[in-house]
Subunit: 345 residues, 4 copies
């Protein structure tokens, strides 16, 4: 099968290529870029030199539709909402890594993203690709909306608690920490090395566009879930997200019971690993891989549960989960092309 | 005045020396070490070479008491509880940077620190040196117990809310992030560069020994405060602590009102800086200095307050606050020897 | 085929496992450790949990010889010199990642390593595994001595110049920079995060044990090569080596001519990539992969050549090259199990 | 005395303010910016909030000349060459941190900087401020040209060898490593965190504009010095430069003799510290301070000397040396306002 990557000069695009190049069912990856068409990919990313060095092509829907069965969008907000419909209409499947099709309600998108939403027709048919919890729909998807990095870590960490209704519905607080690659490759003072190194910053307090995405899914699982408190911090590292999640238990629990619940919930999820009681994952333990590692604690003094969920933001938080969804959509083994161990140290 | 630093080969000891050497009221710093007596300080810390290169002396209470008016302990737990009483009894004032005299109840110390507490006689006379909120007692102190790094950031961030009873007493959650220097200079796998770099780790979940210290002070301010949830994360940077604090407002507020409250609360506190509404400090903005910078947010969707409080863990979180307390104890200008701007970038 | 990894709890051992686990010709990896036998590997390395979690076994030569056809040693100096001979004598092939068999002259080993050399019998039969330049011998090897990380980067960078006799034989200066993982996993003050972060250190000036290894190979290529100047610097990063190499051209050259020479020299070397004139590789461009990337410059003002050679010290500088040699020894495709793109960013 | 800082929103400007604010002979610092006039400094640099928060003023020569006796330029190339003459002509002393007045030959400037040189009249009266080696001229200077960061580390490291004619004149190779703050505050892909972190890059091979500055001074000391080889590397840290310098001894030496020479050469230089034989400085040992630390080695195998010279690029490499020169120009104690210990760790 041939596939297309639109937005090949961003970090998620580069990660898609890293995995898809070795994917057992992919013959060829065509690369497209609106900003840098005509150059060799290695002129933008020296690390691909002599491995995969196609010329970046101009985006031409007809041509792509003829050559490729699936199109991956790894583009900034506002691109796929415009371009994806033409592919869908021609029967080409779309996997969109941007946020353009994640929110069912266009008005909510416009409030949080401050830009025009995709048309409702496509918003409604988009399938949210949190693979572990939406497989039946993903199998049928023609337009797959890949989750955001923060929502992936947060939702995988919260799912068992919310679905089992173990926590107070108004008690969820998520304190998230992210490496800088989540901000993309565009240079700015906020990602300037001398400003970020040896520093921790909080940003978008109570206003991150991933908040409605998280709440939408939580409320699918339990409609009584209230608005969450969600904070994001920039950490002086390149990759990795840790979501530290706090919630109040409805009744006294034990950590053993919680760990059992999580292990049961994810027993068929090859990419979710649950730590033993008393152990917690660090972000480096999933570096470069598609794993989401989770640890859980219960504090008897406060009756609160702490969940620690880590991913590589560019893999399980972007390109890796996109390929996991691609595999599910195509009916292949979920792990195809993703059998990479984390790289440590 | 002459002073003594016991534990001069640790990071807090080095910072004490950096500030005290230029302190306008200090003539000479005598340096002591139990582990490395007899060597020149520059053999342990090359950065002091040709500036301050005394030989580290053996700890001799009589000699120190003859030469020095004040003794600073920058030692691991269990040292000052044993050695400080002899100084106090001879009329030498003690400023203890360790946790040995912070908890009034020895049994609580033994539960959280897993070692023997200091004798109750001295625990009771120790004065807790959160300078901004305990000046009258600090002025009279003979045994000053300097706060921990996490408690300093957390308590300065919470004080106005707790004192004004604006928040639900059982709603406090503190998600703290720290640079690695807080772990001291002793090598271990947990502080090994290749394990810490490009990584975020959570540690001591619900079990950090600073928890009772924070709760003790909060309950002094408002006895109805319930146990807090408190998490600590290791960040790949050397210095800096950020405490992100979440609490539920008892009634609807506004961010403007909160910022006003904080500005008023700290209007006489030279080392506490409050950010404008919508702005938050990052740890680098206080690097190397004695400042604690605070930003506040209020989320109408959830009714929760978010407070962001940052310090340099080795300065306001250790050596700097110790000198601030020293100044207050001696009746000098609170800023003496501490008029350093943060070093940026 | 089954293989054994002795020293599975070090960083090179972990990297061997990462690659060998997905190697198309390896059925099973048995893991051995002298220091941590009896534990599950995931107790030492959490990142392998649920992927590969064998119990670390005690080193038993008979048992290993029965189960495995090849043994990889990823051990500190002094281990393989003692243990490898028994395997060789039983017909088990050995690939040694340590320095124990790299120097043909035991006396030179003892001078630079300050410990007892392996017996001469085995030193003489050991084959030096700089894959690109020693393939015929590697194909026949029973005891393969894998090059050091610095020698790999340096020798691949120097080979074309030395073999073609383009440079003054007494003019070679190598200024090498390394990430901290090269120092292994053992905690020490030299690898303590707070000492290494935001710092560059030079170490082992004129005394690094890799110097005789480099000179031995250079003199094999051109016996008139004189002792080299070689410096090593510790950089605040985990992975990567850059060797910046300076040498005086015997006669005026041009950068185009040099780049042509390098491209020709390495035209059949899949893992060596030569940059265009005016371009130079950075360490991150080979991160996690088996590539060695090289850039070359010629300065008309000074008549000096500058060669920049980068590798991932744990891959091409250790585990990756070991597997590349393993492939050559077994007659397989040189790339087997190593078709990983660099991970960027 | 009042002084002016032109270019207060750059990193060197911020460092000037950090030191000058506590300078015993400076009453007030006026701040100017061409790019951000009208804002409060804290809007650009949050770390100065409530300490020094003047409004950035438009550059008005008349007004500045009325208010200030000395003007510091911390501006990009091309600014001071245009603006400084007007101040000089009005009797205001100028200390220029940019490269505009460092090269005596305007044509050389234009070759290496690729822009128009200052007028020859001012180039000739500019005094090069390598404080340790040019004090008599600095005392008389009206236009002080502050050295570049790389030249400062390199020249202080080479001076004793070159002046004593101990090295072959065509043998100098400088391999320099720098933190990222040397690139200034302007965001670009080259200083984007995700591209720089966990990476070492070489840049401007044989073409750095500091090369002619270094050679000009070396040839002042010994006119037979030949063009040098000079390479610059970007290190994933914010501050610090290490120059590793290689040169061939004319005749056999010993490290003891070399260390003695350096100690003698710098015996009156308060800011230069020479390490003992066998010891070398790391960049962190001068962090935030005006020290230049130097270690020296001699290799009997090769007859080469290795000199390791470290500075904080923003202090001794920029703002600190500028103030040191300011002190010399004014006849004050050379250390005034600069008595800061390095901040460690």
């Amino acid at each position: 099968m041939n596939i297309a990557i639109i937005g090949a000069t961003g970090y998620s695009g580069a990660e898609l290529l890293r995995f898809l190049r070795n994917h057992p069912h992919v013959r060829r990856c065509y690369l497209y870029s609106s900003s840098q068409e005509g150059i060799h990919l290695s002129e933008s990313f020296a690390h691909v030199g002599e491995i995969e060095d196609a010329v970046l092509q101009k985006i031409d829907v007809e041509q792509i539709a003829n050559e490729c069965e699936v199109v991956f969008f790894a583009t900034p907000p506002g691109v796929s909402s415009t371009l994806a419909p033409a592919f869908i209409d021609q029967g080409v499947k779309v996997i969109d890594l941007s946020g353009d099709f994640r929110l069912k309600d266009g008005a909510v998108y416009e409030t949080w993203y401050k830009r025009q939403a995709a048309s409702d027709h496509y918003l409604q048919q988009a399938v949210y690709g949190l693979t572990e919890w939406n497989k039946p729909n993903i199998q049928e998807a023609r337009l797959l909306s890949n989750p955001g990095c923060y929502p992936t870590a947060t939702l995988l960490g919260l799912a068992p608690l919310v679905k089992e209704q173990l926590i107070e519905e108004n008690s969820i607080i998520v304190d998230a920490k992210s490496g800088v690659s989540g901000a993309g490759r565009k240079a700015s003072l906020n990602t300037h090395f001398s400003e970020v190194n040896e520093n921790v910053k909080i940003y978008k307090v109570n206003s991150h566009q991933h908040i409605p995405e998280i709440e939408q899914m939580l409320q699918t699982w339990n409609e009584r879930i209230q608005p969450i408190t969600f904070s994001t911090h920039l950490i002086p590292m390149t990759r990795g997200i840790m979501a530290t999640i706090y919630a109040k238990a409805k009744q006294p629990l034990s950590v053993d019971m919680l760990v059992d619940l999580y292990k049961t919930s994810y027993k068929d999820s090859i990419f979710v690993r649950i730590r033993k009681p008393g152990q917690f994952p660090s972000t480096k333990e999933v570096y470069g891989s598609n794993y989401c590692d989770i640890g859980v604690a219960y504090d008897e003094r406060t009756g609160r549960i702490t969940v620690v969920s880590v991913i590589d933001n560019l893999v399980k938080g972007a390109a890796g989960q996109a390929i996991q969804n691609f595999n599910v959509m195509m009916g292949w083994n979920e792990e195809s092309g993703l059998t990479y161990m984390p790289i440590y140290p």
